[in-house]
Amino acid sequence: MTTTEGAPVPPTADAAPPVIQVSGLRMSYGSTDVLHGVDLDVRRGEVFALLGPNGAGKSTTVEILEGFRQRSAGTVRVLGTDPARGGDAWRGRIGLVLQSWRDHRRWRVAELLTHFATYHEAPRDPAELLALVGLTGQSGKQVDQLSGGQRRRLDVALALVGRPELVFLDEPTTGFDPEARRDFHDLIERLARDEGVTVLLTTHDLVEAERLADRIAMLVNGRIRAHGTPAELARSAAAHAEVRWTAPDGTARREHTADPSRLVWELHREIGGPVADLEVRRPTLEDTYLRMVHQDEVAGTAAGPVTDAFDDGVGSETRAA
C-alpha cells in the first residue's frame, strides 16, 4: 500500500470508506451472463489492478464503474455515488485514460491541456502537469505527431487536470515498446506515491499488475477468481509446490504439496539415501494465472468460489499422508 508523506492512510484503511465498493455485480446481455456476481473494494490511495484475459469481463466491469453501462444487478458505489446516477460533480472527481482515444488530433499538446483545464473549478497547472508526464518538450507539437507512449501520457495529464480522486487506466500500455512501457510504469508509480491518486488499472498483463498494483484481483470468466497483494498471491501460488523424483522401482513420480521441505525429508527417510532426479518447483504467480485462465476455458462457467484457484490441482495428486 502506497501512502503519502504527512497524510498516511492506514494500511487496513477500514476507517475511510472505500473509493470503489462493488458487491454482487451481475451483468447479462440478453441470455448471456458476462459477470456472475463480482465483489470488489478499492481503498483510497491504492493502485488496484483488475487482471484478466481478454473477454473476461474487465471492460464491462470498468464501464459500469465509469457510469457508461447499466448493470443487471448488484450494488456499486464509486466515490460514494451510484455511477448510474453520477452527475457532473461526480464526473469531475474521476479521471479516465482509455486505450481507444485518438481525439483532438489537430490540437497542440499544451493548447489541449490548457483548454481542458478551463472546465474545472480548481485545475492543476498545465505546464506543471506536462512536466510531470514528461511532455514539456512536446508542448508545441500537434497531438497526432506524438508517439503511442507520448499520446497515452498526454491522456494521463488530461485525466489529472481536474485533480481527480480516482483515475481509471484501461489497458494503458497495449502496443507499447519496452522503453515506453517502462516510462509509463514509472509515471503511474509516481502518481500513486506522490499525488495520492487512487488508480484502478485494467490489464491482461500479469507483470504489469505485479509491478504497479498494491492489490490485484483476477477476473476470469465473469468471476473474481483470486485477489490480494502481489506478495499474498505469490505466496499462495508458491504454496502449491511441485516435487518430482524417480522412485526406487524406476517410475517417475510427481506430487503437489504446500510443504515441499517436509515431503523431501520424508522421501529421504523412506528411501534411506539420496533421492533420484529430485526436483522441487514452486509455481510463480504467472503459472497460477495461466493455469486459472486455462482451467476456466476448459471448465467453462462451472467455476467455484474465490479461493478455488489455489486449491485446484492439490486434491487428486496430493500424497496421502
Partner: protein, 321 residues
C-alpha cells in the same frame, strides 16, 4: 446571432436538465458546486473551444481549400452565365449566385456539420467531453460558434468576391440587408439541428459523406437554386418545396435580386411569410429530433465501443494497405 443564442440556449438547457436529473445522487457528496459559476465556466470553455476550432480550420490548408473551392465553383459557374432570367432583365448569374449562397449555408449545416460530428464521435472527442464536467454543453456552444463563423465567412467571401469579380448581386438598402440576415439565420436554424441529428446517427465519416452528398446535390438541382424553378416539372417543384433549400434560396433571392425578378418565381412573389414558416417548422422539427439523438449518441459512447469501431476500421483498412 439568433442562431447562436437559440441553438446554445436549447442545447444548454439539454445539458442542464440531464445534469439536474442525474445530479440527485450527488446531493450529499462533497461541497455543492455553485451553479452560476460552473455555468459561466462551460460558456467560457465553449467559446474558447469554438475559437480554437476556427483557428485550426484556418490553419489547415486542405480543409480551408475544400471550403473555398465551393465558392470558386459558384463564381466560375455564374461567370459563364451571360443571359437573363427568362421574362426579366435580371442576369441569370445573379440568380445562380443567390442560389449558391443559400446552398452553401445548407451544405454547412447538413454536410459539413454531420461530418465533423461523426469524425469527432469516432475519434473519441465526444466521449472525452462527456467525461468532462460541462463538456457536452461546451461542445454544442463551440459547434454553434464554428458553424456561424463558417456561414458568415462563406457569405462574405462569396458575395464579396462575386460583387468584385463577377459583377454579382448585393442587397440594396437596409430592408434587403435585414432580409438576408434573417433568412440566413433562420435557414441555418433549419438545417443545423437537422445536421446534428444526422451526425448523431450516421455510422462513420466515409459512409456519412456518401449518404449525405447525394441528396444534397439532388436538392441543389431541384430547388431552383441554379436556374428558375418554373423550368422544372410541377412534381419536382412540389417535392423540392418540402425541403428547406428551396425556401432558403427563395429568401436569399428576395434579398439580392430586384423586385422585377419576382416574375420568374412560381408564385409570382417572394412568399416571405411562407419562407419564414417553412424554415421555422424545419428548425422546430430539427431540434425535436436532434436533442434526443445527440443525447443518445453521447450516452452510448464508451471505451469499448470506441475500441471496437477502431478495430473494425483497421480490419477494413488492412486489405487495402
Amino acid at each position: 446571432m439568433t442562431a447562436v443564442d437559440t441553438v446554445t440556449a436549447a442545447t444548454n438547457a439539454d445539458g442542464e436538465t440531464s445534469m439536474a436529473d442525474k445530479g440527485v445522487g450527488d446531493g450529499g457528496q462533497g461541497p455543492a458546486k455553485s451553479r452560476p459559476g460552473s455555468r459561466r465556466r462551460y460558456w467560457r470553455a465553449g467559446w474558447q473551444r469554438g475559437g480554437i476550432e476556427i483557428r485550426h480550420l484556418l490553419r489547415n490548408p486542405k480543409e480551408l481549400s475544400g471550403h473555398l473551392i465551393n465558392v470558386v465553383v459558384a463564381l466560375v459557374v455564374a461567370g459563364y452565365m451571360d443571359d437573363d432570367v427568362p421574362g426579366t432583365h435580371v442576369p441569370m448569374s445573379h440568380l445562380a449566385l443567390s442560389g449558391f449562397a443559400a446552398y452553401l449555408l445548407f451544405q454547412i449545416g447538413l454536410v459539413n456539420l454531420p461530418q465533423i460530428l461523426v469524425t469527432e464521435r469516432e475519434e473519441g472527442a465526444l466521449l472525452r467531453l462527456r467525461t468532462t464536467p460541462g463538456g457536452i454543453p461546451a461542445y454544442l456552444i463551440a459547434k454553434s460558434v464554428l458553424v456561424v463563423a463558417m456561414a458568415l465567412a462563406t457569405l462574405v467571401v462569396l458575395l464579396g468576391a462575386g460583387a468584385l469579380l463577377a459583377n454579382g448581386p448585393l442587397p440594396h438598402g437596409v430592408d434587403n440587408w435585414l432580409t438576408l440576415l434573417w433568412v440566413s439565420a433562420l435557414g441555418l436554424l433549419a438545417v443545423v439541428p437537422l445536421g446534428a441529428a444526422v451526425g448523431a446517427v450516421l455510422p462513420n465519416p466515409r459512409e456519412a459523406l456518401a449518404l449525405i452528398m447525394l441528396p444534397a446535390m439532388g436538392l441543389l438541382v431541384t430547388s431552383g437554386a441554379m436556374f428558375p424553378l418554373t423550368s422544372l416539372p410541377a412534381v419536382v417543384q412540389k417535392i423540392a418545396s418540402v425541403f428547406p433549400l428551396k425556401w432558403m434560396a427563395q429568401g436569399v433571392r428576395s434579398a439580392l435580386l430586384p423586385d422585377a425578378a419576382r416574375a420568374a418565381e412560381p408564385a409570382g412573389s417572394w412568399e416571405l411569410p411562407t419562407v419564414a414558416l417553412v424554415l421555422a417548422a424545419w428548425a422546430v422539427a430539427g431540434f425535436l429530433l436532434a436533442i434526443p439523438l445527440l443525447r443518445r449518441a453521447a450516452r452510448r459512447e464508451s471505451g469499448s465501443r470506441l475500441g471496437e469501431r477502431h478495430r473494425k476500421a483497421n480490419l477494413g483498412a488492412a486489405p487495402a494497405a
